[in-house]
Each structure stands twice: as C-alpha cells, then as structure tokens.
Symmetry: C2
Subunit: 220 residues, 2 copies
C-alpha cells in the first residue's frame, strides 16, 4: 500500500507538471501575441485554456481519489492538498493568459502605441517565475523557491512603474487612453500570474520546512 | 469516532463562517471608506486583514488535522478540501478589501471626482453576493448558490460599464486620469471579490449535487 501510494503520488505530481507546462505555454503565447501582433497566438491561448480546464478537473479528481484511498501521513496529506491548491492556482494563471490575449485582440485593431516601458522584459521575467515556481515545487528546491519569492518584488515594481507611465501618457495624450488601459490590464494580469507563482514558492518552502512563510510581511 | 468527526467538522465550518463574517465586515468598511471618505474605516480594514490572515492559518491547520485524524468518506473529504479552498478564497477577498482601502486613501487627498456611475450599488451588490455565498455554503442551499452564480454576471456588467465610463472621462478630462484609475482599481477589486464568491457558490453546488459546474461556459 505504502509503495502503491508513492507511485500514485508521483503520477499526480507529473500530471500537475504537465499542466504547469501547458500554462507556461499559454503565457508564452499570450506574450508572443502582444509582441508580434499575432492573431494566431491569441487563438492558441484560447485552445490551451480549454485543455488546462480539463486538466484541472482531472487533477482535482485524482487528488481526491488519492486522499480517499489511503490513510496518508501528515506530510503526505499536506503534499496532496498542496497539489490541489497549486492546481487551482495554475488554472487561474491560464485565465490571466486569456485576459492578456483578449486585450491584445483589441490592440491589433488600433495603431501601435509607442511606449518606453519594457513590457517584454516584464513578461519574460514573469514567465521565468512560473517556470522556476513549478521546478521548485517538483524538486522541493527551497533555494529556488526563495529566488522566486524575491522575483515577485521585481514584478510588483514593474507594475507600479507601468501604472505611473501609463497615467502620465494618458494625461498628456487623451487619444492614448484606451490603448494605455489595455497595457495596464496586461501588466496587472502579469502581476497576478507572478503572485500565483509566488504562492507556489511559498507552499514549497512551507512543505519542505514545515514553516509558515505566508503573511511574512505582517510579521516583519 | 464518527460522532467525534462530525462535531469537529461542525466546529471547522463555524470557524470558517466566523472568518467569512470578518471578511464581509472588511469589505463593508472598505466601501464605507470610499463613500464617507473615512480614514478611520481604512485603518479598520488593515486591522481586520491581520485577524483574517491569522484565521486563515488556524483554519488551514484545523482542516489538515481533521484530514489526518480520520479516514473520512469521499463526501467528507470533499467537504474538508472545500473548506480549505474557501478559506484561501476568503483570505484573498480580505486582500481585495485592503486594495480598495488603499485607493480610497489616495482619493482622500484629491478633490472629489464627480461620476454618474453607481459605485455604491455595485459595492452593495458585491457585499450581498459574499453574504449569500457564505450562507449557501453553510446551509448547503443550492437554490441560493444558483442566485449567487447569476449575480456574478451583474457585477461583470457593472465593471464593463465602469471601464467605458472612466475611459470616456479620461479622454474628455485629462485632470481626472489618476482619480478615474483609482475607481477602475476599486471596481476591479469588487469584481474579483464577486468572482471569489462565485467560486464558493460553484463549490456548494458541486458538493451538494456531485456535479461539475466549473468551466460551465465552455460547455455552453
């Protein structure tokens, strides 16, 4: 039974990894849609989301079956409930990728907005956070998890700067308002994706060290 | 053991209800802060958030203890993992209340922005959704859950209208840009709270009917 449990657990984690890769891909396509003004990439994000939604249900059911089948130890329980939580977080990342793609579609119908803000860098750093968050959870790598937690501040800084840049642009040039708002929505969705990656990293640290790192700012 | 489990489960649900009431209160205060330009209400939201964060950890631990102590039936398992999920959703609602309060604080330092948009109605409808979502979960009331699911569209409509109104205002009057952006952030946070209430209602239907209502739009 013990052996069986660990094999099933491994399969569950692999399924979660597969879902993580799909989500990573969806984010990458959403960003590509923006950079290359690619209608095709927008469609691909929508297709990815449908697969992600199905995977979420599948993982949720497998996780619950596993909880019901075995009487796991406390640490195994944590691992399963964490897989269930990360599963939800990944699915939400997929939703954010869809939101980004939708705003791209609006932008495609408009003249390009010239902005200095490095949106491509912000997007790449966010993608990297997702990849690292997934890796740190899969390999229970606490050092990598801490790196992810630090990156989150960087994404927040990007987003704060984007907010100020776009506000200044809209004040100066009213014809930019609707396109600048799209960039704000895109930035905020990237920031939300980074937050969710951050959650995964926090969970990994907690799982590995049995220590509560959530709400850490409060205790500072 | 069976009897003991059900008593513990009842305690856990009551603790979740208590947390839900705190979150409802935080949202109510954030909305009051906006309407009455009340600095005191802003401070109260911040205090509430600290209590909410502590409650989240407490419920999470109690839920895991309960999972580990008993070998529950599949339906009990679902109930516990759902409590864990709703716990996370409620804590996020608390974060959104804080976001609203922060934008209020910016607005207090500015001349009031005259807008036609019924932000108070949107806020009240969102609060009602949270209250109903909590009630429907506590009492496993599927009819009320369906009412919550319908209300979510209304909040989305509010938010779409707010977006268009604020975009038009910013185009017309560049001096309104920063305040209008605050209203957009406030509207979006209300909409996110409504989404999370929607999740709780979906979970309740699923729990009660053993039916997958998530991703329902996809299947339409």
């Amino acid at each position: 039974m013990e052996r069986h449990f660990h094999e099933e657990m491994k399969t569950l984690k692999q399924k979660l990894f597969q879902m993580g890769l799909m989500v990573e891909g969806a984010i990458e396509k959403a960003v590509r849609a923006l950079q290359e003004r690619s209608e095709k990439a927008v469609q691909e994000v929508a297709e990815d989301e449908r697969i992600i939604n199905r995977l979420e249900i599948e993982i949720d059911e497998k996780g619950h079956t596993l909880l019901a089948l075995v009487q796991p130890m406390a640490s195994d329980l944590r691992l399963i409930t964490m897989v269930l939580k990360i599963n939800t977080d990944l699915e939400r990342m997929g939703d954010h990728a869809v939101n980004i793609a939708e705003k791209c579609q609006y932008l495609f119908g408009q003249p390009p907005l010239k902005i200095d803000f490095p949106i491509a860098d912000m997007a790449e750093d966010t993608q990297k956070m997702v990849r690292d968050a997934l890796d740190c959870f899969m390999n229970e790598n606490v050092d990598l998890a801490r790196k992810v937690l630090q990156s989150d501040d960087k994404i927040d800084d990007y987003n704060d700067k984007l907010y100020l840049d776009m506000a200044a642009l809209m004040e100066k040039d009213p014809s930019s308002v609707r396109r600048a708002l799209c960039y704000l929505v895109i930035g905020r969705n990237l920031e939300r994706i980074a937050d969710l990656a951050n959650n995964i990293a926090e969970d990994t640290v907690y799982l590995k060290q049995g220590k509560e790192v959530r709400h850490h700012f409060e205790e500072k």
